[in-house]
């Protein structure tokens, strides 16, 4: 087995498993950040052998609960479409993740191996095409349920999603004009280096108007606040009213994976994707041994700080309680201490890396950078949820058609004019 055959397999696995492994993190973050913003504790009770991980276990408890509930199919529903709805809700966001470039291509003695699952030169069009399928999940689920409320809810959200898809498609055109390619890899490469000497050359700074329109549109596309009229938890009945058990959970999971996917696309298009600010791939590769050292030092430092925090937490708990809660802090603190020590030991044995090893280290750094960017954008999604009130439906459609689409057209024209008059054509 040569490297060229192994890497694509690994990339497909990463592309499929990354959104799934981020899913519990996202659900946990949604609850904890909401709790933080509302000045309360948030989930902290569910435990496995005393381990609570600050509430992450609640996500596992949810899955177990939802899976062991009765799967109800109401009478007179259209069974095929009733199942197809939740299936598509989960399937579509999972596929859309495959196109994101995770790191710069490996270059081993002339053979270039792209570090992403699918390398298509129509990148952006693929993303738009696949995400537009999400509307079918809503429409099928709503129509098949044999209920007037779900039908109305489904129509409402379908109209919302297709309206904002227009703004979404038009806002990306400016980015394509700057990068001269639809390929996401090329768009990310184009965002390396700096602008005016001090800003990272991200599309965020080259396309500020396009970015704002794009951001508003993905909020509406993923049905998040302030555009969550599809569901509107306490006020309006949504399209998944008749669903129970795992089928309901699949809509829920799909929504969160769509948020992670939308964050990934935003990070790729406007925040420079895997590019580490100010340090381009060539620089990182030239100093790969130093990069590895910095990685190990920061990893060790984080582990030691966490170990210290766990030690203090353990002391506080010991003074208060006499149950299994004490064990968690001791165990995790010990683990952090061991990991920190491992990082220190590894640091002592670092020798200058061979070319291939250096490239792998750089790829790991770039993937981490992308992950951090995805998490920051996801955090922004949650932050907005508790900051802005919900739109009224006529305001929502008005914003989409009367504000965002003309603005997106203006953005395209301005980008074109600026490119011509700055002599970059």
């Amino acid at each position: 087995m040569s490297v060229e055959t192994v890497v694509p397999f690994v990339m497909v696995l990463i592309a499929a498993l990354l959104p799934l492994s981020l899913l519990p993190v996202m659900i946990w973050a949604e609850r904890k950040v909401s709790a933080f913003i509302q000045d309360r504790t948030g989930p902290n009770r569910a435990e496995i052998l005393g381990i609570r991980l600050g509430g992450v276990i609640h996500a596992i408890a949810d899955v177990v609960k939802l899976m062991s509930k009765e799967e109800m199919t109401p009478a007179r529903v259209n069974r095929f479409y009733f199942v197809l709805g939740p299936f598509l809700a989960l399937f579509v966001p999972l596929v859309s993740f495959a196109i994101i470039p995770l790191a710069d291509s490996l270059n081993l003695g002339g053979t270039v191996i792209p570090l992403r699952a699918v390398t298509l030169n129509v990148g952006i069009l693929f993303v738009l095409a696949v995400t537009s399928f999400h509307v079918y999940a809503v429409v099928f689920g709503a129509w098949a349920s044999n209920n007037s409320f779900t039908l109305l809810g489904g129509l409402r959200s379908a109209a919302q999603m297709i309206s904002y898809e227009l703004g979404l498609g038009l806002s990306v055109v400016g980015t394509v004009m700057v990068a001269q390619s639809l390929d996401l890899g090329r768009i990310v490469e184009h965002q390396g280096g700096t602008l005016l000497g001090f800003l990272p050359a991200w599309n965020l700074f080259l396309q500020p108007l396009g970015f704002l329109i794009f951001l508003v549109c993905i909020f509406a596309e993923t049905n998040r606040n302030p555009f969550d009229l599809t569901e509107g938890e306490s006020e309006i009945v949504g399209y998944h009213l008749e669903y129970s058990s795992m089928k309901f959970a699949m809509f829920f999971m799909g929504e969160y994976i769509a948020i992670i996917g939308a964050s990934a696309v935003t990070a790729t298009l406007f925040f420079g994707g895997y590019q580490v600010p100010y340090l381009d791939t060539d620089f990182l590769r030239a100093h790969s041994t130093g990069v590895l050292r910095v990685m190990l030092v920061s990893m060790g430092a984080i582990c030691f700080v966490l170990a210290l925090l766990y030690r203090r937490y353990h002391r506080r708990l010991t003074a208060l309680y006499h149950d299994r809660r004490r064990n968690e802090a001791r165990m995790l603190g010990g683990m952090m201490l061991l990991m920190g020590l491992a990082a220190v030991v590894a640091l002592l044995f670092v020798s200058p890396l061979p070319e291939a090893g250096g490239q792998v280290v750089v790829a790991a750094v770039q993937m981490t950078t992308l992950l951090v960017k995805i998490l920051v954008v996801s955090f922004f999604f949650i932050w907005i949820r508790w900051t802005l009130p919900r739109f009224r439906y006529d305001q929502l459609m008005g914003l989409g058609w009367k504000v965002l689409i003309p603005l997106a057209l203006l953005n395209i024209f301005l980008t074109g004019a600026l490119l011509v008059f700055s002599g970059r054509t």
Partner: protein
Amino acid sequence: MNPYIPLLAVVAVAFILPVVLLAMSSMLGPKRDEAAKGDPYECGVPQLTPPRDHFPVKYYLVAVLFLLFDVEAVFLYPWAVVYRRLGILGLVEMAVFLTVLFLGLVYVWKRGALEWD
């Protein structure tokens, strides 16, 4: 390698996962059938109207407008890729096209198709 082969692999993984979840929940969950359970949810009263009855024509209008404008938006992509090679001529041509697109939007707007009341 053909780039669509790994895409197929991703599609396969994304296909299997929901199927496994659905199968697991239908095996693990209890089954207790009662006549009233299958009724549509209408806040506790029997269903008053047929569920797939009339709905506002507005939604249909939005769908038609979406089709029109989306097709026009797709024309922008190939132009955007080669724009820098077209130069000022490309800008003028696209300005005309965008103006026509925008006039269409203005027409729809003035006719009141975008109002929800």
